[in-house]
Amino acid sequence: MKEFLQTVIAYRYETAAMILFGIGFINLLLQKNLLRKVMAFNVMDSSVFLFLAAQGYIEGRIAPIIVNNDFSATTYINPIPSGLVLTGIVVSVSVSAFFLALILRLYKKYHTIEFDEIMTLAKKEAE
């Protein structure tokens, strides 16, 4: 138990990231409210970014911006995960924007953002 706790504390960012990923995933799957689905999606993606950032960080090193011509590898943290996080943020922003635009369309038509109600209304319309 003590060892387990020590591992959790040593990898606290990764642990938190995994828990957040689970929360985001389950909510994206099960939430009925569409806005909450968007938020859950953002929690899920941000947790991945947290995981990446935590993995790329090396204790005691600085951001990979070269000053004073210091090219030694031991000065800086790993820059690649930061690059991946940036790319990932761009992707998740575009997806959120698209998702919100769709929700706006549905809200204008049905005046609700509960997906269950929208489904029943859409079914009634079809009949």
């Binding site: 990923f21 985001g24 995933f25 994206l28 799957l29 569409l34 689905k37 999606f41 899920m44 993606d45 991945v48 995981f51 990446l52 993995q55 990979p64 210091d70 090219f71 030694s72 590898a73 031991t74 000065t75 800086y76 790993n78 820059p79 690649i80 995960p81 991946l84 790319t87 990932g88 992707v91 575009s94 997806v95 698209f98 998702f99 769709l102 929700i103 369309r105 549905l106 038509k109 049905y110 997906f115 929208i118 489904m119 859409a122 319309e125 079809a126």
Partner: protein, 518 residues
């Protein structure tokens, strides 16, 4: 890292100086295809008229198809597979494209089928989509095709993730192009499911990077081979393989995750349904097979039992998809359920775990990429001549109003059932012969193939009979002939027959390409 970076820049320098005359011109084709499609998408909004957008999208697709054909000929003569550096950064740092005969063949098929689907569905798109939005629809089609080509060609798993998201957004946009409340509801379902899938894929990619420190497929493969040899990181690797597999399986509608597909594909406009069912699902599968072959190696995947899961879910998909199609009255939803079954065949082939099985799966990818668009555009034409009726009951007799559409629908349906001389038969035959090599799974595979063939016949044959049976729903007024549908349907029909008769050569190219992957 800094030392690595400085050697990197030294290498970079030598690459730039040596690349001048060295690179054979045809190696630029994969990048040029993706780039042309993206540029076409960017200039698309400048066109106000949908017709011009359509012409541009068609032109670029056909151009890319022609380029891919040249690449295919060049590569299959030499039996060559090359990697192409993006931006001249050498291997462990830069981004790469890898192309061999198999990738070129898939790119050729994708571009050709995309162009034909656009052509065959043009009349429907013109009436279904508002005029000012039409060029945006063709924009999304171009981006979707670019994303699929990128998924086929890329050698970098993070690039693959980005293009998965691009293809998700583009695919959702073409589903909602009709802009009715019903299609928006279907789009939201599709989007949510897709995001769950790509979330799992993303975390899988990130974990893989954290374990190995690489993003390029060849380097990943080497590292993982080392890890397997030393027996470290076995559990994380299992989890990563599972995450990548489930992420892709959700997005390509493998058995338990298929509920979103009929609504998304059934409600969309004709070109969208044809492209979604025929092509989009395939891009993800190709990526998955590439990851499993080149990153994990097929032996590792077999020892992790992922092939068993694929085999079981593939068979379940074959049976459940067909079963649901039998009970479906809406013709386009029936075709969509049939896609679930056809994806099942692909996964069954991969799940056999032999090279012959994977070759059969790739043949099925090509065959379905041709046959399902043929069925969707001829169904779209039948629906139009019958005055926009979509249920099979009310479509009775529609083929008599447009015999060409009826004949093409019949041809596609017979191919799906597996009548000899047509493409579907070759798939079933090669899957069956591949299963003979795996004695443990032979009986299950053969029985599943037989049952699913009967199930296919149980809904395709009644559908064919229905469209030829005269009824009171037939329109008195003759519809004007549609040469665009005629041309695209005839070419797709010819391809179905070609894939049925000329299978030896195509299977040869696939096996040649697969052997270069190993």
């Amino acid at each position: 890292m800094g030392a690595a970076l400085s050697t990197g820049s030294a290498l970079l320098f030598s690459e730039v100086s040596s690349a001048g005359g060295m690179l054979p011109w045809y190696q630029n084709i994969p990048f040029a295809s993706i780039f042309l499609l993206m540029i076409a998408g960017i200039i698309m909004p400048l066109f106000r008229k949908g017709k011009r957008g359509f012409c541009l999208a068609m032109g670029v697709s056909l151009l890319v198809a022609a380029l891919s054909a040249i690449l295919l000929v060049k590569l299959s003569i030499n039996g060559e597979r090359f990697t192409y550096m993006m931006g001249h950064y050498p291997a462990p740092w830069g981004n790469e494209i890898a192309a061999g005969p198999l990738e070129a063949l898939l790119a050729l098929m994708f571009s050709l089928v995309e162009a034909l689907s656009l052509l065959g569905g043009r009349k429907d798109a013109a009436s279904d989509i508002l005029e000012p939005k039409q060029s945006l629809f063709y924009l999304m089609m171009c981006e979707l095709q670019a994303a699929m080509l990128a998924l086929t060609y890329t050698n970098d798993i993070f690039t693959a993730y980005v293009f998965i998201e691009i293809s998700t957004l583009a695919a959702c946009s073409i589903v909602m192009a009709r802009d009715t409340a019903k299609t928006i509801v279907a789009t939201i379902r599709y989007l949510v499911i897709s995001l769950l899938g790509s979330g799992l894929f993303l975390i899988g990619v990130v974990m893989l990077y954290c374990i190995t420190g690489h993003l390029l497929i060849p380097q990943l493969g080497e590292k993982i081979a080392g890890l397997v040899a030393t027996g470290t990181y076995t559990e994380p690797l299992t989890i990563v393989a599972g995450l990548l597999f489930i992420g892709v399986a959700i997005k390509c509608a493998l058995f338990p995750f298929y509920a979103w597909l009929p609504f998304a594909h059934g409600g969309a406009t004709t070109s969208s349904s044809a492209v979604l069912s025929g092509l989009v699902l395939k891009g993800y599968i190709i990526l998955l097979v590439k990851l499993f072959y080149e990153v994990f190696t097929i032996e590792l995947i077999r020892s992790l039992k992922v092939t068993n899961i694929m085999f079981v879910f593939g068979i379940a998909g074959m049976l459940v998809g067909s079963w649901r199609a039998i009970g479906e009255e809406h013709i386009k939803r029936m075709l969509a359920y049939s896609s679930v079954a056809q994806i099942g065949y692909v996964f069954m082939g991969i799940g056999l775990g032999t090279n012959l099985g994977v070759a059969a799966a790739f043949y099925q990818i090509l065959v379905h990429a041709v046959t399902k668009p043929l069925l969707f555009i001829s169904a779209g034409r039948l629906i139009r001549v019958q005055g926009h009726e979509k249920s099979l009951y009310r479509l009775r007799g529609s083929a008599r109003n447009d015999p060409l559409a009826g004949v093409l629908f019949t041809l596609g349906a017979l191919s799906m059932v597996g009548i000899p001389l047509l493409a579907g038969f070759v798939v079933k035959f090669s899957l069956a012969s591949a299963s003979l090599l795996n004695p443990n799974r032979m009986w299950i595979a053969l029985i599943a193939l037989a049952v699913s063939t009967v199930l296919n016949a149980l809904y395709y044959v009644p559908a064919v009979i229905a469209v030829w049976t005269p009824s009171g729903f037939m329109q008195r007024k003759k519809q004007p002939p549609d040469w665009m549908f005629g041309v695209s349907g005839a070419v797709l029909g010819a391809l179905v027959v070609f894939l049925g008769l000329g299978c030896i050569g195509v299977i040869g190219v696939i096996q040649n390409g697969l052997s270069l992957w190993l």
